[in-house]
Amino acid sequence: MEPRELARGTGLSVHEITVSFAGITALEHVSVDVAPGEVLGVIGPNGAGKTTLFNVICGFVAPQSGALRWRGEPLGRIRPDRLAALRIARTLQGVGLFPHLTVLENVTVGATRFRRAGLGSALLGLPRSDRDERALRERARAALAQLGCENIDERLPGTLPYAVQKRVALARALVCEPELLLLDEPAGGLDARELSDLAKLVASLGSSVAVMLVEHHMDFVTSVCDRVVVLDFGRVIADDVPRAIQQDPHVLEAYLGRDADTGDGLGAEARATDARG
């Protein structure tokens, strides 16, 4: 319970958010907090409102009621393009890279909030604009290096393996030095080895970054999240540490499935392996 107290002051606090589209309630009085250094998993059946929650935080969807606070300040009308300046970054489902920009350019776009030179100096080609560009590219290179993506600066995303593309997308989010990182299905489509790399990465983000991730891969969620919130039909049905979540009867019913506990020999065996590892 300790992290939740902390969140009030410094992290993100989502308070009693309600969203409905055309009469269908997507989120109903949802409250979620996440503190710096904490990794919060958001899970729930498809259509439970997980992505809508992200969209509210990013300003793509306006809630009917409720409030958000970020670093102690109320977040009023949110515009997606101002998030980076607020040090909130988000990755998109799938990859979401700019297909016709090189890897380095992709990540450099993520560093937009550090741009100082204006349009005028860009049009005149002034040295100020060049210096600015070099600084942004340095940041982008550093972010790519941090994720182990060297020597692919000039490649187009489509020519890279899927997992590397996902890393580049993560580098593009990290390059703006976020204090809140929203990851939308970061493990989707990754294989086992890539997953364990990603888990290490998330764990290495440090104590200043709050992470919120939507994910279906339960092994991944269990291994990286400090706390898990479960949504079902737009409501929070559980909010606890992963181990407790896995035993919660409501969660078993709505999300994990009753069989998950009994299962066939194969599943049980696999879980035993997990426990050992």
Binding site: G47, R193, L266
Partner: protein, 232 residues
């Protein structure tokens, strides 16, 4: 039913599928496993003719379908549920379903039969498919594939982006379809554990090549394979 012999596919200089051979009989499920980029999706796309094969053959009930157009292969009884589900979001649920069986004319399954399998879809039959959640879209795309009463079903990552409880339901359904309809199912999955739990046979691909082709139990108990390719 479905026989693949030495199938090879190149994308330019890159060999995506490398002399793959496999057989799937009626009523049986073969799981195709392996890391990203191992060639699983390319294998399915080559079988249905979306990508031309460089070498090798695909046969359905003995008939060679390798160089045929996609539409013709489909008309031989092959249904392919593509990665990312391929639901046409601009059409309604019912239109998506009808579309699946148009070439079969009177022999196609009625939407009612599909709704019996997926009651959730019936509630939403006249809504545009864009309103469906990820799980419902997966049901729709599988349901749509069944309308034409296929004999071979190719499934590309049906568990992707689905909640565990739904993954279990979908897998159970696939097993039931194979058993009751006698479908030959080729199931490409990242989620090796779920896939093997319903499969009759498991194939592991690496860099386009078959590195293992065994009974599911044998695969699951092979420490080396599990560690290197299966991730559990």
């Amino acid at each position: 039913m479905l026989v693949v012999e030495e199938l090879t596919t190149d994308y330019g200089a890159v060999r995506a599928v490398d002399h793959v051979s496999l057989e799937v009989g009626a009523g049986s499920i073969t799981a195709v496993l392996g890391a990203n980029g191992a060639g699983k999706t390319s294998l399915l796309r080559t079988i249905t003719g979306l990508v031309p094969a460089t070498a090798g053959r695909v046969r359905i009930d003995g008939e060679n379908i390798t160089a045929m157009a996609v539409e013709e292969i489909v008309r031989r009884g092959v249904a392919h549920v593509p990665e990312g589900r391929g639901v046409i979001v601009e059409l309604t649920v019912e239109e998506n379903l009808r579309l699946g069986g148009l070439w079969r004319r009177a022999e196609a399954a009625r939407p009612k039969e599909i709704y019996a399998l997926f009651p959730r879809l019936e509630e939403r039959q006249s809504q545009p498919a864009s309103r469906l959640s990820g799980g419902e879209r997966q049901m729709l795309s599988i349901g749509r594939a069944l309308v034409a009463r296929p004999r071979v079903l190719l499934l590309d990552e049906p568990s992707l982006g689905l909640a565990p409880v739904l993954v279990a339901q979908i897998m159970a359904l696939v097993r039931r379809l194979a058993d009751t309809l006698g479908l030959a199912v080729l199931l490409v999955e990242q989620n090796a554990r779920s896939a093997l739990s319903i499969a009759n046979r498991g194939i592991v691909l690496d860099l386009g090549r078959v590195v293992a082709d065994q009974e599911p139990e044998a695969l699951a108990s092979d420490e080396r394979l599990r560690h290197a390719y299966l991730g559990f």
